[in-house]
């Protein structure tokens, strides 16, 4: 069988990272090819390069065995490539039909030829069982339908290669089943499909081949019938050299943070948290493992008072904190290292010393009614900068100019300086260099040894395994498993994280 796509030795660098490092990927025509890997492994960048959204720094692309250059989506569309992005590229106030034809309109006397277009799309929809309400506005239809619109959009442009980026992330199980039927139908009709995912049960259920990416490289090509989830999970998470963190035995005290049957339904009506219960004791680190987008962010935001849970309770030392705002939650003895430091944790246009008092500015320590206590703010900064080795060691340096690791140190310094009993640390080392990671890990362990209760949320399994005393796994808004210690194989964690553990699958049925 001939190849539909050949990506040969593709390298793509960004400012500070190499997203794709000498990647070669070949996809057989008429097959479904799964591309798997953890967050940040480079899957999406690779496919967006194929689609012309990025230009590779090195490497070649062949489509249907012909070498091509793809400068923009315009080129890729002409080559018969369609892409369904993870965040749909739809225009909400336009109708379904308008979205499908956008950029490829048929006109008749200046007007869009509704009659002809409707007939054409209806025929395609029929052929691939993609039912959509053509005259409805996209903002009024559900995500399942929106995804079909995206697929129709590609097919309407005569795409015979279809790339889908995490297509099931936003779907209900029923919608997922529907989607897989559609994909099978498309394959039947001779289309080539690339499926970006990290859910191994989906890989097993639908793909013919699977390629695994890790840290910008391809680490394995497998034929799906000849492999199993364990093998893929192994490849995905790698055989890691565990970062050594000096850690004494875990001496947990009494539970401090308690979360009971927490449920959160977001504005779109999606149940992001489904009756989550856990507790964290003083002197322990509870790690929450999981692929991003499975409810971790919402859990953290509920606990820290940024969003209000739909039901359930959260307590610190037995005192209810649901309903309090962020400032009041801080006052009850909580510290929060937020997952996105640039968006939430820092005001990057302010100096280090000003960031070190964010949310603490009203304390008598730092301000009186009429003025800020500048000397105290500066000495506070000097102290913390030294203690946490922030560089440059200048309280007046603007935070924007700091490296990711040093920005994160500023946040950690501030949060630990609160002397709170509970620390919520969300992705504490994302985008931080090795030296910074070690420092942050040591700091967290020291805090735990001094009796803090720490909830660690991380998409990095390495981090979870090396820091946690207990490990909880989140999948699809639920805690699906709590391991009483950290003696667990990564591949087993991987199975729970990807929802492909046999136990879970049986439960679901």
């Amino acid at each position: 069988m001939p190849y539909a796509i050949e990506l040969l030795n593709i390298t793509k660098r960004f400012a500070r990272t190499v997203a794709n490092d000498d990647v070669t990927l070949k996809v057989l025509a008429g097959s479904i090819h799964a591309l798997v890997g953890e967050n940040g492994a480079g899957k999406t960048t690779l496919m967006e390069t194929l689609y012309g959204l990025y230009q590779p720094d090195a490497g070649a692309i062949r489509i249907h065995e012909k070498e091509v250059t793809i400068k923009s989506p315009h080129d890729s569309i002409k080559l018969g490539i369609g892409m369904v992005h993870q965040h749909f590229m739809l225009v909400p106030p336009l109708t379904v039909l308008e979205n499908i034809v956008l950029g490829a309109e048929t006109t008749k006397n200046f007007f869009i030829d509704l009659k002809k277009t409707t007939a054409e799309i209806s025929e395609l929809a029929e052929k691939f069982s993609l039912n959509v309400p053509l005259t409805e506005k996209v903002e009024n239809v559900g995500v399942g339908i929106q995804q079909r619109v995206e697929i129709l959009k590609a097919i309407y442009r005569k795409a015979d290669i279809l790339v889908l980026d995490e297509p099931t992330a936003v779907l209900t199980p029923q919608e997922t089943v529907q989607l897989f039927k559609i994909l099978a139908e498309l394959k039947e009709q001779g289309k080539t499909i690339v499926l970006i995912t990290h859910k191994l049960n989906e890989v097993m259920a639908i793909s013919d081949h699977v390629s695994v990416m890790r840290k910008g490289k391809i680490v394995g090509h497998l034929e799906t019938p000849k492999t199993n989830p364990q093998e893929i999970a192994q490849l995905m998470v790698g055989r890691p050299v565990l970062l050594r963190v000096e850690k004494s035995e875990h001496k947990a005290g009494a539970p401090v943070l308690g979360v009971k049957e927490l449920t959160y339904v977001d504005r779109r009506g999606v149940e992001a948290l489904k009756s989550v219960s856990l507790d964290v004791a003083s002197g322990e680190i509870l790690g929450i493992a999981g692929v991003e987008g499975n409810g971790q962010s919402q859990l953290v935001e509920c606990i820290t008072g940024l969003i209000r849970p739909t039901s359930g309770s959260i307590t610190i030392n037995g005192v209810e904190i649901v309903g309090l705002n962020a400032r009041e939650v801080f006052a009850r003895g909580l510290a929060h290292v937020p997952e996105d430091r640039i968006k939430r944790g820092l005001v990057i246009d302010l100096s280090i010393k000003e960031n070190l008092i964010l949310s603490l500015q009203a304390l008598p320590q730092f301000s009186s009614r009429l003025s800020m206590k500048r000397a105290e703010i500066t000495s506070n900064a000097e102290l913390l900068i030294q203690k946490y080795d922030v560089r440059p060691p200048d309280p007046n340096a603007i935070t924007r100019g700091l490296s990711g690791g040093n920005q994160q140190k500023v946040i950690i310094a501030r949060e630990l300086s609160r002397n709170a009993e509970v620390i919520i640390a969300s992705q504490p080392t994302r985008g931080v260099d090795i030296g910074g990671i070690e420092f942050i890990h040591r700091t967290l362990v020291t805090a735990r040894d001094s009796g803090k209760a720490i909830l660690l949320v991380s998409a990095d399994l390495n981090e979870i395994l090396s820091l946690s005393d207990r490990i909880a796994v989140m999948y699809s808004g639920r805690i699906v498993k709590i391991f009483p210690d950290n003696k667990v194989e990564e591949s087993e964690l991987g199975l729970y994280m990807t929802g492909s553990n046999q136990e879970l699958i049986r439960e679901a049925k």
Binding site: M89, L90, P92, P93, I112
Partner: protein, 304 residues
């Protein structure tokens, strides 16, 4: 008294006031549907009026004057387009600067060409088209015989179709709502935003042209806030051509009424406020929702 107010002359006056509002407001619709906030309408109207006056004065030909008015509007809009779309600077500040620039440049050149700091020499008006069937009422005949009035009515109706039924309109709206989505299907965001801003320049320039011909001269600052009223009408009309035109008619009616009532001892200032108060109420969401195009005023940065 009532019949005195609502006479044919009153109707004519209302239309006369509404035409420039409608043209400029329509211009605003094109620009903002494409995602570029256009506070510069005020300055574009002023430059349009001035260019039309100069063009007519020196050629004696009102048709060339019309073309000059459009060109003046286009050139002014071009500055806004470059600053907003290419340089990606703040669109609101750009608009304010252009309005200031228009006030300065028109008076500057006015003094050089006409040696007056307040008004130009007299120019002829547009020739009228003879419409036999309404010759009995000269006010109306003069008004509807004016090619610009006919054009305005035509362009309002046409725009409703252009924006909602044609390929151009679809792409323009897509670029204003979700430029990234438009980009991924191969539509040039820059190009369509240019179209939107330049069309608004041509239409607002034409609005200025109307003012100049209506008065047979240019006077300094003769746009007199009409660009802002047009903007308000666009919002009240929810960024739809017909809606904007209807709002302009309402505002024109209010203003016409105010003129009629002057000297009647009534506080006309309160009628004057109607457009602004209505706009604030609409924006606050008390009368339905007025939702601007999602990417209105947001420069499109392609590189992530």
């Amino acid at each position: 008294m009532i019949s005195q107010i609502f006479s044919l002359a009153f109707l004519a006056q209302t239309i006369r006031i509404t035409v420039p509002y409608a043209l400029a407001s329509l211009g605003g619709v094109y620009s903002e549907r494409g995602g570029v906030t256009n506070i510069a309408l005020e300055g574009i109207i002023l430059n349009g009026a001035f260019s039309a006056t100069v063009g007519t004065y020196y050629t004696g030909n009102p048709l060339i004057g019309v073309l000059c008015g459009i060109a003046g509007g286009l050139l002014t809009a071009l500055i806004h387009a470059v600053v907003s779309i290419n340089i990606k600077a703040d669109q609101i500040i750009s608009g304010i600067a252009i309005n200031l620039f228009a006030v300065g440049i028109t008076k500057f050149v006015l003094e050089i060409l006409f040696h007056s700091s307040s008004n130009s020499d007299r120019i002829p008006g547009l020739p009228h088209i003879k419409l036999g069937f309404i010759e009995q009422s000269p006010d109306i005949a003069r008004l509807f015989g004016n090619p610009l009035v006919l054009f305005t009515i035509l362009i309002i109706v046409a725009s409703q179709f252009i924006i909602f039924k044609t390929r151009f309109g679809l792409r323009l709206r897509a670029v204003g709502e979700n430029p990234e989505a438009a980009d991924t299907v191969g539509i040039s965001v820059t190009l369509y935003r240019y179209y939107g801003v330049l069309i608004s320049g041509a239409l607002a320039g034409l609005a200025g042209t109307w003012l100049a011909f209506d008065q047979h001269s240019f006077t300094d600052g003769m746009s007199a806030g009409r660009g802002y009223i047009a903007l308000a009408a666009m919002i009240v009309g929810k960024w739809n051509p017909l809606g904007a035109a209807a709002a302009c008619l309402l505002f024109g009616f209010a203003e016409s009424l105010q003129i009629q009532l002057q000297g009647a001892g009534l506080p006309t200032q309160f009628i004057q406020m109607i457009p602004y108060v209505v706009t604030i109420i609409v924006l606050a969401g008390f009368i339905g929702k007025a939702v601007a195009p999602a990417a209105d005023g947001v420069p499109y940065e392609k590189e992530k």
